[in-house]
Symmetry: C2
Subunit: 273 residues, 2 copies
């Protein structure tokens, strides 16, 4: 999917919502546990319920790996079920030496047909570039995450340039790929950081976790992060998929997704004009 | 497995060899391709052939993920086949926010019974600590890798302390865990870097890739990296498992492993006394 196609979808739906399919078998409503593949059945109903309001789906691979080979089957089936015009993100945070990253890329882009993979930058250029060899596919690189531990290393100030590590990660990786193939993960907890990120990368899409259960403000994220092609994918996982854990989970998920979409439509109107 | 148990095994075998089970279906000898699970059959024969000389096995998960749910089955069967007294490493380079890292830990320590997982440090403390909650299990944290891209970020000098990022990663993580649970991945390409690493972490085991196909010198690594409990696991993957791609692959793998063991026995004698 191209950046323009993603932007078109955002305008059509009035939404930049990404739904995180962090499906934990321990939280799947009881009435689904008799199904052959309860995780897939859960995802299927969540997708049916939210696809009018979501422009992206993001399964976190950890939830599927925790169930072994059966989990990988659930992931594969889930990906196939997502409508083809919706952007898909394998939230895998992979990264290894060149030939090995190449295999991860094959796993997510060839064997499965994800549009993008989240990648960890610590090992540098040759750990990221193999993902960029797949035309039309995206790398979403960890830059500034929203967790407590982000302060340990990402915020370290570098001697040479007095920039923080996450800025160096962004600037260096922007030499490897254009905004047509490179997005960044940016935690939503602080407005000043988001403004800084936007000044470093004016054109790149940002994947923003940390709205909803993780507590960021959608209004602040939108005011400080939006660019002229929207440039934002804002994720909500638990706040949508576990809003109810009863038989009405899909219906409630739809309501929660619609609430976020309605708020997003206002910001799109306000900041894109 | 405890550090002392690992050291005992090293002394008994006269070896600190880790065999990397980076098994690529495209490189499995033709005569095995008719088997129901050629990757497992290949690993089984490699393990039988090398277990007298190896103290650790390290499957890189990328090679198994590239084959989808079938690959995870091959990985699970391979792990079960490895003799219980040999140290096992899931070379997965995972790392995510706390609850998600917890799921990865469950995948590798609970569902499968690996002794250790390689972890990427970029997201900081809460991405690493969930792996440490498993008693008797190990984190092997990426510190200084041997690939070209390691210069992009790992070698960046920090303003406050004038240390490089990888040193900060080591020092900070050493506050989270003792040398009974924490090892570091350290590329073997430069002796001065290895001496520096050893001065920062005198007691921690180091997992050293980059000997063999990646080109480091075993003698130099041993001279600069060994401590009084050996403190080294030196990995060879392609140099052993693909030394021959004919019907004699297991036999040749055994010879290559024995060669490395024989050289290691000399260094153990020389540096441990």
């Amino acid at each position: 999917m191209t950046r323009d196609q993603l932007f078109e979808q955002i305008k059509t739906k009035g939404s930049y919502l990404c739904v995180g399919l962090d499906t934990d078998i321990r939280k799947v409503p009881k009435h689904l546990l008799g199904e052959e593949d309860p995780v897939f059945e859960f995802n299927k109903r969540i997708i049916d319920a939210t696809k009018d309001y979501a422009v992206a789906y993001k399964p976190n691979t950890a939830f599927y790996e925790a169930m072994g080979s059966q989990g990988w089957e659930s992931l594969r089936k889930t990906l196939e079920y997502i409508p083809k015009d919706i952007f898909t993100i394998a939230d895998a945070k992979r990264g290894d030496i060149g030939n090995t990253s190449g295999l991860y890329a094959r796993a997510f882009f060839d064997n499965m047909d994800f549009d993008s993979v989240t990648v960890a930058p610590y090992m540098g250029s040759d750990s990221v570039k193999p993902f960029l060899d797949f035309e039309g596919k995206w790398v979403i690189l960890l830059a500034l995450t929203s967790n407590q531990g982000s302060h340990d290393f990402q915020r370290c100030e570098l001697k040479e340039t007095e920039e923080e590590l996450y800025e160096r990660v962004m600037k260096t990786s922007m030499e490897w790929a254009s905004p047509e193939q490179l997005m960044f993960v940016v935690g939503a907890t602080r407005a000043d950081a988001l403004r800084k990120v936007r000044s470093v990368a004016p054109d790149n899409f940002l994947l923003v976790p940390g709205v909803g259960a993780q507590g960021g403000s959608l209004e602040e994220v939108s005011a400080n992060g939006m660019n002229d092609k929207c440039g934002l994918l804002v994720n909500s996982s638990r706040g949508i998929i576990y809003a109810s854990q009863g038989e009405d989970f899909a219906e409630v998920a739809r309501e929660k997704a619609k609430e976020l979409r309605d708020e997003m439509a206002v910001y799109l109107e306000r900041y894109l004009g």
